[in-house]
Point group: C2
Chain length 149, copies 2
């Protein structure tokens, strides 16, 4: 089992922004370099994190993104809950029709309870507690080991 | 977050075989119809379940698959642990290189503990307890709502 790719990117973006909350605004390109993830994916994640009220964006030539007070205290559990909102743990409802077993199936309920245990473990873990502060220089220089694709 | 597609198919195949353990052998085609999943996916799942010692296969024209004693008592947690063996919860190690944050990242450890909580919730749940016994007729007739693709 794993978290979905979009949640993964959102958590990494938050971690980069939390690592140095007093720093200058970071551009999406900076962040993409820091998390080693394509620009387009990071751009969608930044937009979603803005909609969730966890980052602030400043438009314009000198614009960029920074973490806000809510982002600095948000937990991994609540981020994943917010992003997983409509997702089944197993593919009970597929594009080509529901699973034939769905009527008498106890798997979905069991997996739902297990997912709740997964989130509960992450509910006390602040995203900001997972990020290591940068020592110096821009994120793209200190963290990136390859260019964003 | 969700379980991977292969684990999903393996659990459904086990559920179908557990639903009527005293029945005649089921062919892979029967099972594919019952779980609404393409034949090739089900075939790989049956092979894997055989390797895990949870089902017995009988070769030949009148051959097929049936659940064995280990399969009747196996739990969802242990099936998922066996199938997830080498998988990260997040994509720390991608095909195009490791995540740049990996050095000082606390996310991986936190997600690993959450995965353990997920499994622990499923460790007491026998797969056979999730399956509803068939009332009559072959699985493909009573459960399938669409042909296997």
């Amino acid at each position: 089992m794993r978290i979905n790719a979009f949640s993964d990117v959102c958590l990494r973006v938050l971690m980069v922004l939390c690592a140095d909350p007093g720093a200058e605004l970071l551009t999406t390109k900076d962040i993409a370099g820091a998390v080693g993830t394509p620009y387009n994916h990071v751009s969608k994640a930044v937009l979603k994190l803005g909609n969730l009220g966890l980052v602030d964006a400043v438009r314009g030539r000198a614009g960029g993104v920074r973490i806000n007070a809510a982002g600095l205290t948000v937990t991994v559990g609540s981020v994943l809950r917010a992003l997983d909102e409509r997702e089944d743990v197993a593919e009970c409802h597929a594009a080509n029709g529901d699973c034939p077993l769905i009527g008498g199936c106890g798997l979905r309920g069991a997996l739902g309870r297990a997912r709740e245990a997964f989130y509960a473990e992450l509910d006390p873990v602040a995203v900001s507690s997972l990020a290591r502060p940068r020592r110096s220089g821009p994120v793209a220089v200190t963290l990136a080991t390859r260019p964003a694709g």
